[in-house]
């Protein structure tokens, strides 16, 4: 039987709310980036680097990165608890789901740390 101990907040209301709010953050970030690229079609490395060296952009990007990880965790947890079940994949479902969740967690942590390194690294 699937339990909810590995869900993001262990509460359906807050998981639902977090997923919606993070979706809005990611959507606004996407619009801002697309708009920037539309207004600067021939963007140079220097312009791109200047954009990401500004504090507001670094905060906005990190916020989006965190939002993406939270959003993706809730989504992938839902996918795993829907499809990786005993009646769909057999007796090994629990082990498979645990490995799937660990794999997702690993990917999100790597992306997050890598993102922070790119944002605040020395080039």
């Amino acid at each position: 039987m699937v339990t909810q101990v590995t869900s993001f907040t262990r509460n359906g209301v807050s998981d639902w709310l977090v997923q919606r709010i993070t979706a809005v953050v990611v959507a606004i970030y996407s619009v801002v980036l697309v708009a920037y690229l539309l207004f600067q079609p021939a963007v140079t490395y220097q312009q791109w680097s200047d954009l990401f060296s500004q504090t507001w952009m670094q905060v906005f990007t990190l916020m989006t990165l965190l939002a993406t990880c939270a959003h993706a965790w809730i989504g992938m947890w839902t996918v795993g608890t829907d499809y990786l079940r005993v009646h769909t994949v057999g007796e090994s479902a629990n082990a498979l789901r645990f490995i799937f969740q660990l794999g997702c967690m690993l990917v999100f942590v790597v992306y997050l740390i890598w993102g922070i390194k790119i944002l605040w690294g020395n080039g």
Binding site: R10, G12, D82
Partner: protein, 234 residues
């Protein structure tokens, strides 16, 4: 007309199979699918299905007809038959007892979970608990559910998590009691629904709305429950 029926007798069949019948449909009127099942039973008395009122009130004969759930007794052939062929299967997602008869236990377990009865901790009045016409109107579109399970068994979220997702029929009834002015257990009811599965497994695909033989809208009721949970939480 070619009628293809899902057959399974656990006493002699290892796996289920589809059996084809060539049936002469009497002309002159639009038969219901239940009439076809009755004609089939004359040909082969071992074909098993549930039926009772034959007028869409009892909810016994919910089956899957050419891929869509509905009540056999109020579904005319003209509505479901495609290319002169009709496939009849049991409601999907529930264990099959025999042929078109399913085991409804998981469905009823979820229904029990939402406490489908009035809870009122105030002293009972001498005659009855009165309700204004406006409050009574709020129950319209909710109380009419006959628990046929057509909606719940059309819902993939229920197929994947039948032990934890309440399902559209149960949630429609949950809202029916949450919105009832005579019920005082709103807080207790909402607390029982706030986990990630009971309500929030609904992805809003609205299969429930498209198959409900009574024309009800469980997705809307689920939306109302979600709003009540959000208001309570923030």
């Amino acid at each position: 007309m070619l009628i293809s029926v899902y057959r399974y007798d656990p006493d002699k069949d290892i796996t289920p199979y589809m059996q084809d019948f060539d049936l002469e449909i009497p002309g002159g009127r639009d038969l219901m699918v239940l009439d076809v099942l009755e004609l089939l039973k004359e040909q082969d008395p071992t074909v098993s299905y549930r039926r009772s009122c034959r007028e869409g009130v009892c909810g016994s004969d919910g089956v899957n007809m050419n891929g869509k759930n509905g009540l056999a007794c109020i579904t005319p052939l003209s509505e479901v038959v495609k290319s002169d062929k009709l496939s009849i299967r049991p409601l999907p997602g529930l264990p099959v007892v025999r042929d078109l008869v399913v085991d409804m236990e998981q469905f009823y377990d979820q229904y029990k979970k939402i406490k489908p009865y009035l809870i009122n901790d105030e002293p009972p009045p001498t005659q009855e608990r009165l309700q204004s016409p406006e409050d009574r109107e709020k129950l319209d579109g909710l109380y009419e559910c006959i628990l046929c399970a057509c909606c719940t068994t059309a819902c993939p979220s229920f197929w994947w998590n039948p032990d934890k997702f309440v399902g559209p029929a149960g949630l429609l009834q949950a809202y029916r009691f949450l919105i009832d002015s005579r019920d005082t257990a709103t807080e207790e009811r909402l607390a029982g629904l706030e986990d990630p599965f009971s309500v929030f497994r609904c992805r809003g695909i609205m299969n429930c709305v498209s198959v409900c033989p009574k024309g009800l809208n469980p997705t809307r009721a689920i939306g109302h429950i979600r709003n009540m949970l959000l208001k309570r939480a923030v």
